[in-house]
Symmetry: C2
Subunit: 127 residues, 2 copies
């Protein structure tokens, strides 16, 4: 058994400074460099109940979701069974390509444990 939930919406772009300035003003929120994530700027309270951040990537602009979980291996296996494909492993996280062509990252729990427990789904792991 393991648990997971959506933790963050990440706005990936090679033009991160321009994007962070735009989204901060567009949504009326403050922007601040994230000490825990290099190349990342947090947009405080931009979306309800989710971390929202602009992330500098050497790739085409995209949005991706971070799913946090208490078992990265089991959550990855669950999503692969649902049709996702693992495309990278880095710093304890997994990067998956989903059916439909989007990117999702599976990360260890980042939230306060009580918030995680309150919002997470529980999944029965297959043998």
């Amino acid at each position: 058994m393991h648990r997971s939930r959506v933790h963050a919406v990440r706005i990936d772009t090679p033009e991160a400074e321009a994007a962070a300035g735009f989204w901060s003003a567009a949504l009326g929120v403050s922007a601040e460099a994230d000490p825990a994530e290099p190349r990342s700027t947090v947009l405080h309270h931009a979306l309800p109940g989710l971390v929202t951040a602009v992330q500098c990537v050497d790739d085409a602009p995209r949005f991706h979701l971070d799913i946090e979980t208490d078992d990265v291996d089991a959550e990855t296996a669950r999503l692969v069974l649902l049709g996702a494909a693992e495309v990278a492993r880095e710093h304890g996280r997994r990067v998956l390509r989903t059916p439909g062509g989007h990117v999702v990252c599976i990360v260890p729990v980042r939230s306060d444990p009580e918030d995680f427990a309150a919002g997470a789904n529980t999944w029965i792991d297959r043998a």
Copy 2:
């Protein structure tokens, strides 16, 4: 003066059926065709406080945000002043390309008026 807020996260892809099936199972939520939006499948309660939907597009996979507003012209003008570029007008909505290269749609208010009033920012329009 006008008001706006983020209303929806839309998961755009040409493979909408596969994507809707995946996200429904991945997030543990029900999926249902949206009677108000052709080619769109709503994922009920997938993200807190936001409409989340898979939308079939004849274009590369992407996520985009819908910003709802009580004045589409004024909200579009505000975001263009912040650096966005208008790329399309269709069915009363505007499609903008933001600094950083993402897509955002400006739509008339879709939410319950009380929810909109509670969550929206108020902006002073420039002359």
